[in-house]
């Protein structure tokens, strides 16, 4: 899961905000990866048994397991589909972006 304290990235609007040399504020992520996605994973929570295989295999760590139901950070999910492919319960489906599940 995305670390909670991470700050969102803003493009510098003034020269003072530009990074200088190797020194810049830490804990800021660069642009989201959601634009790469063609299909979006959608979890059917009624089928999920929390085996956490999707959580383990997710390359980008976008699945969160802290809440009662697993969460997905759609800002950083690239839509690779590993979670849906590996889910033993077929609880995750890949839905074309722009369509409703």
């Amino acid at each position: 899961m995305k670390p909670r304290w991470i700050k969102d990235f803003h493009y510098p609007s003034r020269p003072e905000e530009l990074a200088f040399g190797a020194c810049t504020e830490a804990g800021v992520l660069i642009t989201p990866n959601s634009g790469w996605r063609v299909f979006r994973p959608v979890i059917d929570h009624s089928r999920c048994v929390r085996c956490l295989l999707c959580w383990t295999y997710c390359p980008d760590g976008v699945i969160g397991k802290e809440e009662k139901e697993l969460t997905i950070d759609y800002d950083y999910c690239k839509g690779c589909g590993i979670c849906a492919h590996e889910c033993p319960k077929r609880a995750i489906s890949m839905v074309k972006e722009g369509k409703r599940p």
Binding site: M1, D60, G61, H85
Partner: protein
């Protein structure tokens, strides 16, 4: 974070906090799985060092980094020597609870970084070296490395009329490092995350030079759909073309010995890099595999 007990990885107890996030690796990248899981076990008190490779190029988009641990980006051949220096610095500062971790690709390990790694192993520097093996120089556009398997197409080992991909068998890194008689050395696969994380946890608890060679399928370079990374990792082990082993206390051990192998075609056929292969190529690979396994079984307990 609670100490992760050796041989008792439970996904439920692992930290949900990522130490690497937002990196620009390709969708479905196996190397990313390996680094993410390794950092989960090693925890925040890790000093990381990465040479030129996918893992460096995709995590350092100026001026930010995707890592939430300190990370030294080093020159392509220098992982072994850089982590040796970092370990010396940590020792000089009296830091005892830290792990020095080098993460490099197969090119940066088996080819250009081999002598620096060999030096670190020979001196028994207090480091962990994790080589994620995507079986070619991927970051620069799929060139052959000495860890690319026989017959694979890459841009520098073309396949087609009169050419059949890589013409040499791959180097066995596990054997090379075990020959240094290091305290711990292992192979792993991202498709077997429990085994992999147990090996990382084991390595964390040991002092001295530790080496883990993890196979990390690469959808971009191997040419398969992004969702099949784990499946291909499994097929590689199932068909006997990759193996899970450990070297510890002077003894080699196989962690998994398939009774019967899956046909090599099941692993090779779906990948673009093996598309040119014909029936006799498969049989040749099978023969090589059986010879390799006879050797493995002879040397190792399982």
């Amino acid at each position: 974070m609670a100490e992760v007990g050796i041989m008792a990885i439970d996904f439920k107890n692992l930290s949900d906090r990522e130490l690497m996030y937002g990196q620009k690796t390709c969708p479905g990248c196996g190397a990313t799985v390996a680094i993410r899981l390794a950092l989960k076990i090693l925890g925040e008190r890790t000093f990381l060092c990465i040479p030129a490779c996918c893992a460096a190029a995709t995590t350092n988009a100026y001026p930010q980094t995707s890592f939430f641990v300190n990370n030294v980006v080093t020159a392509f051949p220098a992982t072994g020597s850089t982590i040796a220096g970092m370990a010396a610095a940590a020792e000089a500062q009296g830091l005892e609870d830290v792990t020095i971790l080098g993460v490099a690709g197969d090119g940066g390990t088996a080819d250009i970084g081999l002598q620096a790694l060999s030096g670190a192993c020979e001196r028994n520097d207090n480091v962990i070296y994790l080589c994620y093996d995507n079986e070619a120089y991927m970051n620069t556009g799929i060139q052959r490395s000495s860890s690319t398997p026989w017959g694979a197409w890459t841009t520098t080992s073309p396949a087609g009329e009169g050419a059949r991909g890589v013409v040499k068998s791959r180097k066995n890194l596990f054997d090379i490092i075990a020959a240094h008689r290091v305290p711990y050395c292992a192979t792993a696969s991202v498709a077997y995350p429990r085994d992999f994380m147990e090996k990382i946890a084991k390595a964390k608890a040991i002092k001295g030079a530790r080496f883990i060679h993890v196979q990390a399928p690469c959808p971009t370079g191997w040419g398969y759909p992004t969702e099949k990374t784990i499946e291909y990792g499994r097929l590689a082990v199932g068909s006997g073309l990759w193996y899970l082993a450990e070297y510890e206390n002077g003894e080699m051990k196989l962690n998994m010995t398939p009774k019967t192998f899956k046909p090599v075609e099941s692993y090779l056929r779906g990948q673009r890099r093996f598309q040119h292969m014909k029936e006799d190529d498969y049989r040749l690979i099978e023969k090589q595999r059986d010879r390799e396994w006879a050797l493995l079984r002879e040397r190792m307990k399982s």
